[in-house]
């Protein structure tokens, strides 16, 4: 058990830290394409400089994403060797495809985008931004395909040695779970990028500097923010949730804190799950809403944890429950804030409304928390399975790597990542302080 726990923590810690960077870059890549498109269409220097400023923020995130991403691919082998051996015949496919189709593309185009502004025509420079965006979104797709197969295994045969082998390439890539999760996840990345762009813009406006850029960033941040904050709930979150309910009833029951099977199950908004008594303490709940959200009728039966064998229940129920509720609660706030801001923007009052600007500024960490909590929901909900229904987590970690060696390198990563986090903060703070090149000055 100790070994298993340490290998799980090893992967969980390194992937959680890693995903702080790509969730911004994937969304920001899209926003940079918008800025570059405006630059190309209007021919105004303003848009180009705005894109260049965000390119600098992007570059820092890119490097941190790359260096923290390399360990992820290695850890399948180093920490989860038995899983890697048995599942390589399936998920080796999307992982190798990510390397071949996306990493080359994003690194090549980013090199041109960052270093080549003076060496290529504006059109090619715009194309390089598009290349970075496409490369990133392909990358996300292959990772989601990998995770989706662990959540909802499709298109495989079992081998005599217990291994798995893909038997339909397209069925693997078009796993319905993957498509739903991909839409939800990528929208989440756009939420993060919109909030960060909006927050930087709000900071400039509140601080009364770079105000022309501040208005651009707030505007783009809020427009992208309001669209993505709606899409993250409906349809992507709604569809994904219904699919989870259909295929992982134990996960939904644990996420919602539904201990007993109910007809007309209520949706718990707030409350603490009590595993000993098997109920929610101090609940605020809406009657019948859970049944309605999942099945579209108020009296539908929703399976509770009582119908799941104890050994097949997600073992960390409170963490899963809280992660899910934090994600959903923050998602609600995103919609409120962005709809309100969009309304003020439409009425032409946003740039001077101190309350709204402060709210936009202070809300930038929240999508990071929501994205992290969302992934925790997905992965904790899958437990105790490594491959849902087929291979338990306890069967997958590297037997040859002792708990103490695992702990040693986990602590090593924690120390190193603490340092990286500090450096990252300093670097980004510095870029935001420098800001975009002022408009009245000629570019050097």
């Amino acid at each position: 058990m100790t070994s298993e726990l340490i290998h799980r923590l090893h992967f969980a810690f390194t992937i959680t830290f890693h995903y702080l960077f790509p969730q911004l870059t994937m969304g920001l890549a899209l926003l940079i394409v918008i800025l570059k498109t405006m630059a190309l269409r209007t021919g105004q220097e303003h848009w180009d400089r705005a894109a260049r400023f965000w390119g600098r923020i992007f570059a820092i995130n890119f490097v941190f994403g790359v260096v923290t991403g390399i360990p992820m691919e290695f850890e399948f082998g180093t920490n989860w060797a038995r899983f890697a051996q048995l599942s390589g015949g399936v998920i080796g496919q999307p992982l190798a495809m990510e390397g071949v189709f996306s990493f080359f593309m994003e690194s090549a185009f980013l090199g041109v985008f960052l270093y080549g502004a003076k060496k290529v025509s504006p059109r090619v420079h715009w194309l390089s931004a598009v290349g970075v965006f496409v490369g990133y979104w392909i990358s996300g797709f292959f990772i989601i395909v990998t995770d989706a197969w662990m959540q909802h295994p499709v298109a495989f045969v079992r081998l005599p040695n217990g291994g798995f082998e893909v038997n339909s390439f397209w069925a693997l890539l078009l796993n319905p779970w993957a498509l739903l999760q991909y839409m939800h996840n990528m929208t989440g990345a756009v939420v993060t990028a919109s909030f960060v762009m909006g927050a930087v813009g709000a900071f400039y406006l509140l601080d009364k500097r770079n105000e022309e850029y501040g208005r651009t960033f707030v505007k783009l941040g809020v427009i992208a923010g309001v669209i993505s904050s709606i899409l993250i709930v409906f349809p992507t979150g709604d569809l994904h949730g219904k699919y989870v309910a259909k295929n992982q009833p134990a996960a939904i029951a644990a996420m919602e804190g539904l201990f007993k099977t109910e007809q007309g199950a209520s949706l718990v908004l707030i409350g603490q799950p009590n595993e000993e008594t098997g109920q929610i303490d101090n609940p605020i709940a809406v009657n019948d809403l859970l049944s309605f959200l999942i099945y579209g009728t108020t009296k539908a039966e929703v399976v509770g944890l009582d119908q799941v064998k104890p050994e097949d229940r997600p073992e960390n129920l409170p963490l899963l429950y809280y992660a899910y509720h934090i994600m959903a609660g923050l998602g609600t706030w995103f919609m409120v804030l962005m709809l309100g801001s969009a309304f003020l923007l439409w009425r032409g009052k946003l740039y001077t409304n101190q309350w709204a600007l402060w709210a936009l500024l202070l809300s930038f960490p929240l999508p990071y928390i929501a994205n992290t909590a969302g992934w925790m929901t997905a992965e904790l909900g899958r437990q105790p399975w490594l491959i849902y229904g087929l291979m338990r987590t306890s069967q997958g970690f590297s037997k040859m790597v002792s708990a103490s060696n695992g702990l040693f390198t986990l602590l090593g990563f924690m120390g190193l990542y603490a340092l990286l986090g500090l450096l990252f903060t300093v670097l980004v703070y510095r870029e935001i302080s420098i800001g975009p090149e002022p408009l009245d000055e000629k570019a050097h």
Binding site: A84, F104, M400, L423
Partner: protein
């Protein structure tokens, strides 16, 4: 047949990684010694700035391809070499960050620290990669399930229970350190100008002599440690073309550097790395990871190979994907031809 194809495809990915990331590792190693002024340091770094992470992608793509084609080998080797791989990961992180950070800080002291970190991480990575290859050539103590776990060192002697480091694998590390330094020096003769270029050019013959010597030593050491490594060559004498290629590329390197043709000398160095790696692969083929505990435990091609269906489908997308990838890289390199420029970035 699938086994043969994928063995060499993975080998090509590894060669691609070594040839490409090899020169920026080499530049990292030399950065400390060759570049004196701030201007020169910036030139050195900007000679690899636009391309280094694209080069590093080859490592990831090679790892992914290995996982895809030979899951057992990937699982066994990555968990067995757990400690050195984690160290490699930390070094890759430190190297990437110090390179990126360097141009963001103005304080001289921090720059010196980051330069040192960048140089040190690059040197250690070269040594570790060389030692890793030597570990594969020497073999590891595999058990019946095909797994092992290596301590960093035991008695420093190759035997049934060696460590990651022993005298043989250290030689492998030195080969990589010197060969990549030479590779990096040649890259600088192309990209740098003025005094820096002259210094790099003067260093090439010295490194060349060292590389020739260590190449010979490593060859003899390999035959001593693993006599079976010459079998394939005698069974298929035509493959003596590989060691001949090593020799010829070294000769060509010397010749072109003397003639002042830096691009050709660099290409000769690429060929040298290619032939060295091809020679190493051929000497173990069709074994992927030999066992020091007895040949019956060897991880062979047939044992580690993934299924027929994924490998067939893989050939299609791998062909398309790598054609695109090479296209992108050619495009990037063609944008940054000629001497490195230092701009205000």
């Amino acid at each position: 047949m699938m086994g043969f194809i994928w063995f060499w495809l993975v080998a090509v990915m590894i060669v691609g990684y070594v040839v490409l990331d090899g020169f920026d590792l080499g530049v990292g190693i030399l950065h400390l010694f060759l570049a004196r002024t701030e201007q020169e340091k910036r030139t050195t770094l900007s000679s690899i700035g636009p391309v280094w992470d694209g080069n590093e992608v080859w490592l990831l793509a090679a790892g992914g391809t290995l996982y895809f084609a030979f899951p057992l080998l990937y699982a066994s080797a990555f968990s067995g070499f757990y400690l050195p791989l984690m160290i490699v990961l930390w070094l890759l992180i430190l190297r990437g960050i110090s390179l990126e950070l360097r141009n963001h800080v103005e304080v001289g002291v921090w720059r010196k620290l980051l330069d040192a970190l960048f140089g040190l991480a690059s040197s250690l990575l070269a040594i570790f990669f060389g030692a890793a290859l030597a570990n594969v050539m020497r073999g590891v103590p595999l058990n019946a399930d095909g797994y092992f776990f290596l301590p960093l060192w035991t008695t420093w002697t190759p035997g049934t229970h060696p460590g990651v480091l022993d005298w043989y694998t250290v030689i492998g590390g030195v080969v990589a350190l010197l060969a990549l330094s030479l590779h990096g020096a040649l890259w600088l003769t192309i990209k740098a100008s003025g005094e820096l270029e002259a210094r790099a050019r003067k260093l090439v013959p010295l490194l060349w002599v060292a590389v020739v010597l260590i190449t010979g030593i490593s060859l003899l050491a390999t035959i001593v440690v693993r006599p079976a490594s010459v079998n394939n060559y005698f069974n298929y004498p035509v493959t003596f073309a590989i060691p001949a290629g090593v020799t010829l590329s070294l000769a060509a390197l010397w010749f072109f550097n003397r003639k002042g043709a830096p691009v050709k000398a660099f290409l000769a160095s690429c060929l040298y790395l290619f032939f060295m790696l091809a020679g190493a692969c051929w000497s173990v083929y069709p074994t992927l990871l030999p066992a020091t505990t007895g040949a019956q435990y060897d991880i062979t091609l047939a044992r580690a190979l993934s299924g027929d269906y994924p490998l067939h489908v893989g050939l299609v997308w791998f062909g398309i994907g790598m054609a695109l990838a090479i296209g992108y890289q050619v495009f990037v390199y063609s944008r940054f031809l000629g001497k490195a420029e230092v701009d205000s970035h």
